[in-house]
Point group: C2
Chain length 310, copies 2
């Protein structure tokens, strides 16, 4: 039993109360505090030096990434972000300018999305820096998009291009808040998740929550230039497609809609977001698990996606 | 410039929005989201192995402490806690039972105060464990007790006994939620703060926010048995009084009320909380800074209180 399996076992038994609409386990918790017509979204996430960023990463980008990860989770619920609190852990010998840089990155991204930063704690951390952010958001009551709503026959969509994020994009990605709000206003999104662990891993999370399976079309997986270029450098040691499925840290949106919505969605998306690719990568099936279909037929996908902890 | 001075400079310039009633810098942020008659309280805090707990601390107590620190901040605003989210950082070689123990400590304390735990993230942290908790609470609109409301002439009160907490109590303390609610329902509490950095340090935070000073009565400072016993063992190297003023991690409440409320408060407190000491330790003055008065007269208090980072 790893720590992660253990936590997965613990989460369903955590204390709850009458305010909890959705507890731990989705991209955000959903709370009903009696706000007319609205629910709150609540989420925390941490980035750790040596795990989510390397010591030579620009401090501004570390701050950006820490907040952007939480905002990506708010986006994946179809919500808007309102405020954030920050805990910063610093080794004793860290240049104070580093902490200032982290806050510059936090501040710039927060301003862009009108997020107030309403708490900043700093603590010592002997060996490596970390940054933990919690975000409070809102969504129309009953409209939070969960992982559990996918239906057999749904079309599966992915924004952007996947793989190779650790070459740089993981520190600079844009949370898809605007796109998710647009999407949820215009279409009945059945299920949504943000891609942090890789398409293969996060699709499985969505499928398990929805008690369904999926078939992906190999040729439809949007492989990023970074993944292709890494595959060329490695002389095929890691195929670009595998990278797109399992690298993780893409922070794009994966969602499903009824098949009748697929073509209208693609049409309207091109007008609304001409610079961001949206691709239909497959469909939801009743058979559990994930299958990859190419010209030679369909085969089970066994790769599990990127796991941070190693 | 230390990291902490830097953050203190950064906090006032953090992004805000129309929902923010009180931003970073008090025990909790206060948010007005349009909830009829109520404001939200929002706070995050982290405990780090080697700084806030030692590797041999019981895991349950680490979980208890991490949540109790946030609940103590909710208490210091006069509020109630509703939900919490958790980020746990774990070294790769950590026994999974340790993470389970942390969650047992979190769960037990959360159940006691009807706090829902609605998010649990786990991440690798190469060298030392950490636990970051964010808590969402509520308070009657306009009734949050800030650090900034102390008035000249106010009586200064402290719950419990101070000093020597690191001998054990810092891992097992009870957040003063019940006492703070009782207090705020019955009395006009002008200013309040929870004692995390030590009476000397946290009183200064309250005084600076209120633009006043204070005179403490040496004989009235409630020195804990742990501080007295440590002082005996050290043969006076650290006086018990100094320990009570500067050790920190007491997580008791420091607050001020009008002088006319002092005697009724002490009377009613004895009936309500017969097992928890409440002491009047001094008064608010117009002259800035802190003075200690004993039989020989008054002298400035220069000790700055416990600073975690060293």
């Amino acid at each position: 039993v790893t720590e992660f399996e253990l936590i997965a076992r613990i989460l369903p038994s955590l204390p709850t109360n009458e305010s909890v609409v959705v507890g731990a386990g989705d991209d955000c918790a959903v709370l009903n505090l009696g706000l007319p017509g609205r629910h709150l979204l609540f989420k925390t996430d941490a980035v750790v030096e040596g795990v989510h960023f390397l010591p030579d990463a620009l401090a501004e980008r570390v701050g950006h990434k820490a907040l952007a990860r939480c905002l990506s989770d708010i986006a994946a619920m179809g919500g808007t972000a309102g405020s954030a609190v920050v805990s910063l852990g610093l080794p004793a010998d860290r240049d104070p300018a580093w902490a200032e840089g982290v806050y510059q990155g936090l501040r710039r991204l927060a301003l862009k999305y009108q997020v107030a930063i309403v708490g900043g704690e700093t603590t010592a951390c002997p060996h490596n820096a970390f940054l933990s952010v919690a975000v409070l958001g809102q969504v129309e009551a009953g409209k939070a998009v969960l992982r559990s709503g996918a239906k057999v026959g749904d079309a599966i969509f992915v924004t952007g291009e996947l793989g190779g994020s650790r070459a740089g994009r993981h520190l600079t990605f844009e949370p898809r808040l605007e796109e998710a709000r647009w999407l949820c206003r215009r279409f009945d999104v059945h299920a949504m998740i943000d891609l942090s662990d890789g398409l293969a891993g996060d699709l499985r999370h969505l499928l398990q929550a929805s008690h369904v399976g999926a078939e992906l079309l190999t040729e439809a997986i949007p492989v990023s230039p970074a993944a292709k270029s890494a595959a060329r450098r490695a002389h095929g040691a890691t195929a670009a497609l595998t990278a797109a499925l399992t690298d993780g840290e893409d922070f794009e949106l994966l969602f499903t809609v009824a098949p009748a919505d697929a073509v209208p969605l693609l049409d309207q998306w091109k007008t609304a977001f001409p610079e961001l690719r949206l691709g239909c990568v497959g469909k939801i099936t009743s058979e559990p698990g994930v299958r990859l279909r190419d010209r030679k037929g369909a085969r089970p996908l066994t790769a599990h996606g990127y796991v941070h902890f190693q």
